[in-house]
Symmetry: C2
Subunit: 203 residues, 2 copies
Amino acid sequence: MTTKAKAKTETAAGAPGDTRTRIVRAASRLMQRQGYDGTGIKQISQEASATLGSVYHFFPGGKQELAVAAIQHGDQEFVEELRHVLGTVEDPAEAMIVLSRRMAEGLRDSDWIDGCPITTTSLGAAGRIPDIQTAAARTFARWRDLVQDKLRAGGIAQEDAYELAHTAISTLEGAELAAQVSRSMEPLEIAGRHLARLITLYK
Amino acid sequence: MTTKAKAKTETAAGAPGDTRTRIVRAASRLMQRQGYDGTGIKQISQEASATLGSVYHFFPGGKQELAVAAIQHGDQEFVEELRHVLGTVEDPAEAMIVLSRRMAEGLRDSDWIDGCPITTTSLGAAGRIPDIQTAAARTFARWRDLVQDKLRAGGIAQEDAYELAHTAISTLEGAELAAQVSRSMEPLEIAGRHLARLITLYK
DNA sequence: TTCTGGATAGAGCGTTCGTTCTAGAGGAGA
DNA sequence: TCTCCTCTAGAACGAACGCTCTATCCAGAA
């Protein structure tokens, strides 16, 4: 009631189909597949059933601001997948196998087009656009932290857990990339087994 | 002397500065940094000190053909680095540590812009352009084969060597990506140590 | 010398890019 | 009813895109 604006969608309700959300989702999906430069604002607005005016209304910072939001959306998506697997499978080593298999299946089911939700978006642009580099770095750190906590909870020493979490994320990332490019689940399946084996060494 | 044409540059000498080579090198370097869609043909021709006419003379297939040549160039570049390290360091496990450190140093020395020579080029385009996906897949397979041979020579069984080579390439790839995005050598250094540890398990 | 074909040179094509701008629709509060 | 403000709508701009095209250069063959 003061002059300060209310939360933007307080009255209109932040429904899942609300325009801003549709735009972010479309941007995230398209950039995941085609990269930052390969995806146009107009394509995003069409895919989101929104107009150019709406896009620039919600993202006055233009394509760069939209890309950062898309990365954060992809981040959150994988955080939920990660939380689900780590929360379901008790043994951290076993969890790596389950995780890699699920990633492989998701990749195959999308006909090898939906890889890591943030790598493609950020790779070509990170060198030119600092905000995108920062957002991508924060994402990796977040994923690593989740794995690290799981390893600690599994009885692994802090320093070992820290390093293993680094390698777990790196290896899964690289294996997903290799799997996508070679259109085969094998790199991810092998990576899962090796990560499990590596983790059991530190228990 | 027959009607069959001689090798194109037989007389003109395939000097390192020859136009076609300069174009491929510029394309490879630029696409490595900016991706397929982020790199323009005109930018490549300027960087190579060539003209648009020359580019389309040597690459009538246009940007796609040029991108494939750029990937093969990047492939060859890393093959030489790989051959050098694997040929110098006798122990395969130790070789992984040396390799990852050299990759980390190269990345840092380029101020974190020169990552994997083919990932950025191929990621956004592989889904749309089959030739690029195929070239990237062949590249990964080639790198893996070199590592696999080294592991075999180090006394590791065929099946184990096959799988370890997969994980070695995946992990190095992912760690380079993480290192680039977080502007830190740590992911690569940790990856090298873990790969070495993993390899010694199979000896 | 004349001829030939690889290589260089760059103007210009149609298209798409990211962005800006003005206009209007729709709902809440006075 | 009138006002205000968020959000929708899309035409239009200059720049850059990939690519085509014609013209020219020049070394070696005839």
